[in-house]
Amino acid sequence: MNDVRDPWAGLNPVRPPAALRARVLLAAREAAARPLPGLFEALYRDRVLRACAAGLAALAIANALVASGATPAPIARPTAFAADDAHPPGESGLTATEQSDDLAPVLGDAIPRSRG
């Protein structure tokens, strides 16, 4: 406490009592010798494990129910926009650059060509 920069000078954390070593090692050896609990015993003892198992079972049941049900019909994708009786052509799958030659007679030079 006398040194401002190191208030802990000359002080060390207290060490564990000497008798603790024998107690800890005995408990550890007993734990090592104890057989691992079976699944049902572990479920009986551990509340968190029970909750996890219940959640897992619920998910498995839900998955089974969904899988056994009728396959939903795929939703048809609209191919063209049909408002006000206007029927524009469907998607050609071409990029703007690829379509520029076809659109040139209609649009003239309104669409600048890219140089890339």
Binding site: P7, L11, P16, A28
Partner: protein, 196 residues
């Protein structure tokens, strides 16, 4: 002369680092031995790191009896699932993390209103009466700090963890870990009436 002093300090720091790396390698080998099914490795593991496990739990829980229970919890966990101890890269940090979690659990489950024991956090190795007084005063002041700040001071100053490792052990961002240490030291200095 000044350059020789700096050189000496660098050699000392290098020596400390080499010694720390050797201790880490030794601890890793012991944990591997335990994972390989040798329970006799528990004794040397205890000798290597029980002091630090006890201290981190003591500083976190403010109770020597809880700290002793935490040491037991850590070793019982190690012994009951030794396979988890195999192939660990940072053995000391791993054990300190176990100790931190055991201490947090122990503090959380402790019934409120139970009086904590008066075992000091720090001890002076010499019998100088001034130093003993300092130790008791330091303990008194440390008791006033929040447990997370107290733990950060122990881990950074006494266990010599970097802020990054301190953050990993306590499970918080590095900035938070560093802030806890600095706030704790600032409060300590303020309490001692010292200006930085």
């Amino acid at each position: 002369m000044a350059s020789i002093g700096v050189l000496d300090m660098r050699v000392l720091a290098l020596g400390e680092r080499v010694e720390r790396d050797l201790r880490e390698a030794e601890l890793t080998a012991l944990l591997d031995r335990l994972a390989g099914g040798d329970p006799d490795a528990l004794g040397p593991i205890y000798d290597a790191c029980a002091s630090e496990i006890y201290a981190i739990a003591h500083w976190r829980t403010s109770s020597a009896s809880d700290a002793a229970d935490c040491v037991q919890d850590v070793f019982v966990k190690l012994a009951s699932s030794p396979a988890l101890a195999g192939g660990i890269r940072h053995a000391r940090r791993y054990l300190l993390t176990m100790a931190h979690r055991a201490a947090v659990d122990r503090a959380r489950t402790r019934r409120p209103g139970i009086s904590l024991d008066d075992v000091p956090f720090l001890a002076a190795p010499s019998l100088d009466p001034d130093r003993v007084l300092d130790a008791s005063r330091a303990t008194e002041i440390l008791h006033e700090l929040p447990e997370a700040q107290r733990e950060a001071i122990y881990l950074h100053h006494f266990a010599e963890l970097t802020f990054r490792d301190l953050a990993r052990v306590t499970g918080v961002p590095t900035f938070t870990a560093a802030s806890r240490y600095r706030l704790g030291m600032a409060r300590l200095r303020k309490r001692l009436g010292q200006k930085r």
